[in-house]
Structures are given as structure tokens and as C-alpha cells.
């Protein structure tokens, strides 16, 4: 499956190998990996927990992927997003796009990430060492970035 929402970690190298294996029309693969940043202050370790909306999330990701495939000439693309409890440094998301054309790979990968950020139903909550929880707030700049794709069209 080229759109997956899963709890378990993914092996980036294996995923990308599977993506382009045997397709010699591919000239370039752009892969973006999102990692859990350490948001803690004073060196305290925090964890991140991701919640999602089963079935709607996958639908939205499929839709974003389809839009990218319509807009750019892609040979293959892949979205993996994790949910559940993650520690700093862990992989959250992988978006990979493969094309004969390097710019198409770069742009479509960024496009998918930008829309995933603003459209895919995931919510992050941070837990600090004392068990205090805080929902991560959406950033307005992410909406501006995503809307720029429509303007430039």
C-alpha cells in the first residue's frame, strides 16, 4: 500500500527501494522524513502522542496523493504516517515521490507535505516528564504555505 497510517516504525531505505525497484523510468526520488523534535525545556525529555481519524485520514492522504499525481508526472509516490506514542528523534512521517524529472519529484513531495500538514486529520499531544499534557497548536503559516500552491497554479 502506498498510503499507510501505522503505529510501528518504518525502514526508510526499504520503503524507497520498494518504491523505485524495477522502474527504470525514474530519474529521481525525493523523500521527506518528519522526525519528533525535542520540544522540552531545561533538557527534560518529552514524548509525543499522535491521534488520528481512522478511515478519514487515509482518504484525505489518498486524495492529496492523487492531486499530486494529477499535477506532476510521477512514476510512484508513497505516504506513511505513524500514530501513537513517539519519542524525540523518532520518525513520524515519510513522503516520497519518484519521477523522471527532478523538479517534479521535489515539488510534488513538498506539495504533499504542505497539504498533509493542513488537511490530514492528525493531532499531536506532548507529555512532559511530570505527566503534564499539552495539545500542539496548528500553525497559521502552514495554512499560508498550503494556500500558495493554489495561487501559483
Amino acid at each position: 500500500m502506498t498510503v499507510r497510517v501505522q503505529q510501528k516504525d518504518f525502514n526508510l531505505g526499504d520503503e524507497l527501494k520498494t518504491l523505485h525497484k524495477g522502474n527504470h523510468a525514474i530519474g529521481g526520488v525525493c523523500a521527506f522524513t518528519g522526525l519528533v523534535r525535542d520540544m522540552s525545556h531545561n533538557g527534560e525529555i518529552s514524548t509525543m502522542t499522535l491521534e488520528y481519524y481512522p478511515s478519514m485520514t487515509e482518504k484525505i492522504l489518498q486524495k492529496i496523493k492523487a492531486q499530486a499525481q494529477q499535477r506532476w508526472s510521477l512514476e510512484a509516490s508513497l505516504i506513511i504516517h505513524r500514530y501513537g506514542k513517539l519519542n524525540a528523534g523518532e520518525q513520524i512521517v515519510l513522503v516520497a515521490t519518484a519521477s523522471h524529472n527532478r523538479d517534479a519529484a521535489f515539488e510534488s513531495c513538498q506539495f504533499i507535505m504542505d497539504f498533509l500538514k493542513t488537511k490530514a486529520p492528525f493531532w499531536k499531544i506532548e507529555t512532559d516528564l511530570n505527566g503534564n499534557q499539552q495539545w500542539v497548536e496548528a500553525k497559521n503559516c502552514d495554512n499560508i504555505i498550503a494556500s500558495n500552491w493554489t495561487k501559483n497554479n
Binding site: Y53, M56, P121, F122, W123, W135
Partner: protein, 83 residues
Amino acid sequence: MKILYFAWLRQKIGFGEEIKDIPSHVTTVKLLIEWLKIQDGGYSEAFKDISAIKVAINQEFANFDTKINKNDEVAFFPPVTGG
């Protein structure tokens, strides 16, 4: 009607999913919110600032004026923060 709540909406309401019998005059998302707010429970607290709330009907993004039917799956959640 199946109603889902995510993230801090789920926390404030106390559960993530419920099946509710909705009166016939509740025909839009906005009217559903107004009706929920007068029910017992965490609804009035959860829906205090609806500018911070997104809605999906049958797993498609919708808005507060969108019409709803009793067989719909309506989901309320804060702006998404994935990626």
C-alpha cells in the same frame, strides 16, 4: 447520528464517539452544535469557541452551514497538527 470527537474536544466531552437521536429541527452543523451545547456533559465547554473547531461529514471536510442527516457521521476536531 454518529458523532465523533477528536483531540481536546474528545477530552472535554469525555469520549470519542456516540450515537445520538437528533431532533428534526437540527438540520445543519451549526444547529447541531447549538443543540449539543444545551445537553448535559462537557459539550458547552468543548464548543465554547467554535472558531477553533473543524467539522467533517461522512469523512469529508464540511462547514457550519452544511446540511446534516440522521445517518451521517459527523466529526468535530481542532485544526490538524500532523506531519
